[in-house]
């Protein structure tokens, strides 16, 4: 019997495709019976030809089932290596280079996000116009998304917040300060 080339087109005398029987075997081995297989399973339970072929297929599939049942050992340092590689890429791709008179420094995205969040909180405490921000840092600069309080004139509040942040970042980073964008994405119900 050569299943490799033509076997999937083979049909038993009762009309059952051999491929469907093999699916039944594999699905049972995977312990995840497929919905479509129940009709076939009912047929097989009353068909000697199918049962014979099913046994052959099951014994052929046994090495796969055993292989699938075995635990694969994960290299012990893999998680740490993944975290380390990720940290390196993060640092390279999301820190902001700030050039100052004495040279340049890299400010991490995390530090920048914290700084901007704090500045938004200070602004919100002073004006009661906006809520908690979502802060994103990319190569293009800082994007702040906030919800404005109900009744606040959104363009004015957004512009005031933007100017507050620009002033604060200028103070920290001088001419190298990253660009700031403020988006009002939601309204806080009163």
């Amino acid at each position: 019997m050569n299943l490799d080339r033509s076997g999937d087109d083979q049909v038993l005398a009762c009309g059952t495709p051999v491929g469907s029987l093999l699916a039944l075997v594999a699905d049972r081995a995977a312990r995840r019976p497929d919905a479509d297989s129940s009709t076939l399973a009912r047929h097989v339970s009353g068909c000697a030809g199918c049962q014979r072929r099913l046994r052959e297929l099951a014994s052929g599939w046994e090495p796969v089932r055993r292989e699938a049942a075995r635990e694969v050992a994960v290299p012990p340092n893999l998680v740490e290596e993944a975290l380390h590689g990720l940290a390196t890429v993060r640092q390279r791709e999301t820190s902001v280079e700030v050039v100052e008179a004495g040279g340049s420094i890299r400010v991490s995205r995390g530090a920048l996000v914290l700084l901007v969040r704090q500045e938004v909180a200070d602004f919100a405490a002073g004006t009661s116009t906006v809520g908690r921000p979502t802060v994103r840092v990319s190569a293009d600069g800082v994007t702040v998304e906030v919800a404005a309080r109900y009744g606040v004139r959104v363009p004015l509040a957004a512009d005031a917040l933007r100017r507050h942040l620009v002033a604060s970042l200028d103070e920290h980073f001088g001419t190298a300060a990253p660009a700031v964008r403020v988006l009002v994405t939601d309204v806080l119900e009163p």
Binding site: D4, G19, D34, V64, E67, V74, R136
Partner: protein, 189 residues
């Protein structure tokens, strides 16, 4: 730092989208073993599988801004690692042919102690070796769904979502993959 262990994957991904690196790191801790298993079954080589896992996490992190929540995090991660593994296979094909040296050893050196004495162990090792080698001969369009189904035990709908194909097309691929795999195993027995 906030304890993230009790959070669901979806919460972690959403926090990571919002810039919480710690949440993404927790996903890495949680899912690296699974990603490695899939990568190893697909690329068949331990060192390559480790590289695939690394590539996958970096791709996932870069893709975070585009994560829209329409896929389950696990589906998304399977898709990312599968793509990384396929990328590795494509690059390897362009390089001089490398034998699948490490594959069986990687998988087999973790086998539980055989119950039937040393001979049974050797026999089992050879069989496992044969399965892995037979899988390595499958075309990647057959190998990937086979790994996700037979080794990861995912259901058809999830595999179809990971591969971006319909369920009938997936069935056809899996069907072909199983028949070919069984044929290859018979050739060596």
């Amino acid at each position: 730092m906030e304890r993230l262990v009790g959070h669901g994957d979806r919460e972690l991904v959403e926090a990571a989208v919002g810039g919480a690196d710690g949440a993404f790191d927790e996903l890495v801790r949680r899912h690296t073993p699974r990603l490695y298993r899939v990568a190893l079954r697909i690329v068949g080589d331990r060192a390559d599988a480790e590289d695939v896992v690394q590539d996958a996490w970096i791709s996932a992190w870069r893709a975070l801004p585009r994560y829209r929540g329409d896929a389950e995090p696990s589906t998304w991660l399977y898709r990312v690692v599968t793509n990384a593994a396929l990328g590795r296979l494509r690059r390897r094909r362009r390089m001089p042919e490398q034998p699948m040296t490490d594959a069986a050893a990687a998988i087999l050196d973790t086998m539980p102690a055989p119950g039937g004495g040393p001979e049974a162990g050797v026999l089992r090792q050879e069989r496992g070796d044969q399965v892995q080698r037979a899988i390595a001969t499958l075309d990647s369009s057959q190998r990937v769904p086979l790994v996700l189904r037979e080794f990861e035990g995912l259901d058809y709908e999830e595999i179809a979502a990971i591969l971006g194909v319909g369920v009938p097309a997936l069935r056809a691929r899996l069907h072909r993959a199983r028949v070919v795999l069984l044929g290859r195993l018979r050739e060596v027995q």
